[in-house]
Symmetry: D2
Amino acid sequence: MSNKISVGILGATGVVGQRFIQMLERHPWFEVAWLAASDRSEGKTYAEAAKWRLRTAIPPAVASMKVSPAIPDGAPKVIFAALDASIAAEMEPRFADAGCAVVSNSSALRMQSDVPLVIPEVNGGHIKLIDVQGWRKKSGGFVVTNPNCSAIGLVLALVPLHQRFELDTVMAVTMQAVSGAGYPGVASLDILGNVIPFIRNEEEKMEEETRKLLGQLNGSKVIPGAFAMSAQCNRVAVEDGHTESVSVRLKTKAKADEIIAAWSSYRAEPQELKLPSAPERPVVYLSASDRPQPRFDIDLGAGMTTAVGRLRPCGVLDWKFTVLSHNTIRGAAGAAVLNAELLKAKGYLG
Amino acid sequence: MSNKISVGILGATGVVGQRFIQMLERHPWFEVAWLAASDRSEGKTYAEAAKWRLRTAIPPAVASMKVSPAIPDGAPKVIFAALDASIAAEMEPRFADAGCAVVSNSSALRMQSDVPLVIPEVNGGHIKLIDVQGWRKKSGGFVVTNPNCSAIGLVLALVPLHQRFELDTVMAVTMQAVSGAGYPGVASLDILGNVIPFIRNEEEKMEEETRKLLGQLNGSKVIPGAFAMSAQCNRVAVEDGHTESVSVRLKTKAKADEIIAAWSSYRAEPQELKLPSAPERPVVYLSASDRPQPRFDIDLGAGMTTAVGRLRPCGVLDWKFTVLSHNTIRGAAGAAVLNAELLKAKGYLG
Amino acid sequence: MSNKISVGILGATGVVGQRFIQMLERHPWFEVAWLAASDRSEGKTYAEAAKWRLRTAIPPAVASMKVSPAIPDGAPKVIFAALDASIAAEMEPRFADAGCAVVSNSSALRMQSDVPLVIPEVNGGHIKLIDVQGWRKKSGGFVVTNPNCSAIGLVLALVPLHQRFELDTVMAVTMQAVSGAGYPGVASLDILGNVIPFIRNEEEKMEEETRKLLGQLNGSKVIPGAFAMSAQCNRVAVEDGHTESVSVRLKTKAKADEIIAAWSSYRAEPQELKLPSAPERPVVYLSASDRPQPRFDIDLGAGMTTAVGRLRPCGVLDWKFTVLSHNTIRGAAGAAVLNAELLKAKGYLG
Amino acid sequence: MSNKISVGILGATGVVGQRFIQMLERHPWFEVAWLAASDRSEGKTYAEAAKWRLRTAIPPAVASMKVSPAIPDGAPKVIFAALDASIAAEMEPRFADAGCAVVSNSSALRMQSDVPLVIPEVNGGHIKLIDVQGWRKKSGGFVVTNPNCSAIGLVLALVPLHQRFELDTVMAVTMQAVSGAGYPGVASLDILGNVIPFIRNEEEKMEEETRKLLGQLNGSKVIPGAFAMSAQCNRVAVEDGHTESVSVRLKTKAKADEIIAAWSSYRAEPQELKLPSAPERPVVYLSASDRPQPRFDIDLGAGMTTAVGRLRPCGVLDWKFTVLSHNTIRGAAGAAVLNAELLKAKGYLG
């Protein structure tokens, strides 16, 4: 019998839910033991319920698993949640209340002051916020969240600069993949030969989440990062991988080679702890003049590495560069799995 | 017999050359009488030489026209030039020297101090630079240029703001269509499901051309606009239409409705003169939350109107918004045709 | 006051409904006076209710029109129907029963023995089936249908061959545009970089509709065409335009130039009657070795002409060739409008 | 020191050359020791010369390898050739003449009567043709070829049917990926939102190669398969993976389950010999109603398995179905590597 930790997945049939299943297939610590999705799926096997949209096959053990009702009764104590925000707002507290560790990819609770919003390489220390959560005190349950798929790649590229040179100003324009909108998500009639210059609430999320992630934990709350920030979000005809054109002003002036060194040498707790899903290098700088590109570079570090390229002076701020991150791995399922690994390493998963 | 002005086209078989032919098919003032392309095409009929890539048919009169050698001998006195920069650098001076009015879409001479870089709605007055050109003095010939396809949409969106509120800072990130790279241009293997975050020399052109276009003519030279500017250029899987995410800081603070009014009410010399290719409105603001989009909005004003949308406050500069412009009409062939119309109206075409 | 015939549109907000509105904007005989869509849209203006997906603007008169409930009460006597089959099956009979001329694009009633399935250039005479309809006898109302978007282009290419050489066998493989699936229709995650080798019920429709269209009206029923037929249907990443690879065996052997002549010279009743939406030429043969192509050839005859190309001998049947047809114009809205024009010309619209 | 067989690659920088390098990176028997490409690349390192277009990185040992002149002098005795046909026609004989085993992906010599055209799972016995080659007798060198990328998937799907039920007639319509045209290959302006119904010489190759592959070796020549065959070839906006809509008539009538059993149980010499690149199953039948699809199914068997689906009765022939094959792995580089493995197993590589 396996002595892995049993985990459940809320929203198991969606694009991110599928990535959870794919990433957990051979996970050394966790084992998928329970799946829930919308009422429509209940009682079906996972293979019947999910319109599987990944290139690897559904893991056989999961394919035949029955989809459970989305209630804490009978669910494992560790829950990965990949729910729409409106549903998550109700359901995640219910599971935390029932004593579950809810590792969430949803935006619903990210900005709640007692909920940690965490990228393990950036602000793993914020996990301590768990200790002030009412759920934790009552039942032992808690909620930890990871950021939006467009924020996470950006913040991984920013954190080495922020630590060494301190950010003054950040401007980011995104070109986001359609998988970020889930399934069915973006209609083909909307995106073939097109750019959609609008993603609901996305710019707001990028701006506030970036500041919370790069903020300082101060007792029971996070003081947001003090830099100025502006984001513009666009959808493009790309399957996977969010590309971002970024400009920054730094408080301590830095040369190009110092910036590249900051990225290249960046390592953090997940690398030191050798967490199973941690990439060897959180950030890789590509020196080719026309990289990173989503079609060719999203699989770096098994989709967990953020690629940066095209560093050059900015005529307005100090420097500009391009960032690329896999939006459903590093930007969603992988983000949550790495959060769970950090929780485990820190003793929060019992 | 027609009393239209005979015009020739240099680079007639390329993507922009084809647009010239399409736009001039029923032009009230100009008539295509001569076509030149690379040596390979010489002596063939146009229909044989060109790989026609437009939805409308080749105009019959042009289809059967022989492609001439690219020399001034036998060419008309008005020449539209759609040449690669390296070829244009040699060939455009040769035609100007021989007495031709060269209306160029190439980047080769745009930044030369005695060559006007003109958008008729923006800086038609710069045309006077012609009078200081050596070619003009010698043979009567001259060169007038229009800007890069990514600069022109941007500058049309900026000029109403610059005139009323004065620009302090401009940041632009482009998502450019593949037709901007000519034919065969971008390989399908490079762009399907992809974003290419690099277009050679494009950012430099956008930055310096924008300043020259919004600069002041002072005797025999143009004093560039004094604002700060930074551009980042990306290629996306769109056939036609460059989309840009723009942020600006203005010297005179303005409210959203004042900015929208500045765009909506903007009219200039081409509209007053009712030039045949001038759109009724150079700039149109779209109020839908997710527009403009290249698939749906590039044909506004028959491809000559710049669409703007999504005006909202910027967390770093003052305002941010999205700009869309048809890159091979307003951004290339249409730009040159409108320049020629302005030249005619001002008596420069004899 | 206009003396045009007032018409209504059922399913006015969908992809085909929008094409109806676009095609009827300046129609000489018909005028849109009434719009209905799903309950959700009721009471809104059309501009609010429809997610308009065409490049031309919503006609102003239609934009401000209120969406009516989908009931015959208050509806005009001529109804264009662009409903999903399951809804059409109930709703079209209700309108016919109430005395309306229902000109339908839906598949619901196409194969019903007393319902004419008509392409005016192919089998306009089948319209007489109206006279045996129970609705007609009771209230004067009736239903006329046009074929599936993939059948119509094929049949227009086949009819000149069938009339001169008689079809023995037809094989067709389609590569269909996403607009054929309506909106939102095909998810972008399903079609970017992909081919979907399945469209529900499409092959069955193509096979049986082709035979009914090329069948003989015999009193109160149509004897289907006697040729063998097989269709395979695929979805590809194209916005508009269904492309088909076709092979045929003919009962009378024909040479290539005879076949091309049959296509090129084909004219029928709509051309003789000069119906407003009839293309000058129903079928055009393109001689270039790599045409027709959807991006360049779907607008022939304002989207009403079927393009054929690449005629060459087939190693199994006699001849093979490629067919292209605009699926939302000739294949849907335009088909119905042309049917209505034929009905008017024949006195069926009062 | 490695005791692997040193191999060289002709045309190493192209799309197929890159796949060779990727597939040979950890090959148990072969080791890339020599690379040649066009003159332009000569003397550069491979990393400088190649525009690498794959998601995995260039193997470090290859990245720093110098590109050699394309002459037999100094080349290894085993050569993988990925050349354009016109160049291959000259160069492959030159290497064979110099004693090299040329394992070619080019079409130049495929139909030459003494050159084996081989798919190891289909007609491995044809390799004996080598023995009648003049090169072989003179220098020990020889040429072996693999079929066109569109033929190979088809023939793998046909061979189980041909062996059990004998083919009478085959019709195939392809929807081919752009990578099949090499790099830069298909221009993005030609394929975005489009289908191109023409690939030069492709239909001819499919028809004649299929017959040669399914033919009988009779002494020094191959008697082509006697079935009727017709192919139509289209290019679609897919990066990798050729999809084909196929119809067949069989001499021995078969039921659906017999046909599926024929595919599912098919094994051949490469499976028995456990050749390193042989897929466990050459053909897999997918039972989902809408598969195979290139985006999701091309990686089956590491790109070496042909996927088949949608078996259903054909209204003209007996059965129709969809075939999918990875065009640059099973259809090109992988085909040649498997041929080389078979040659090695049979003692032809010394």
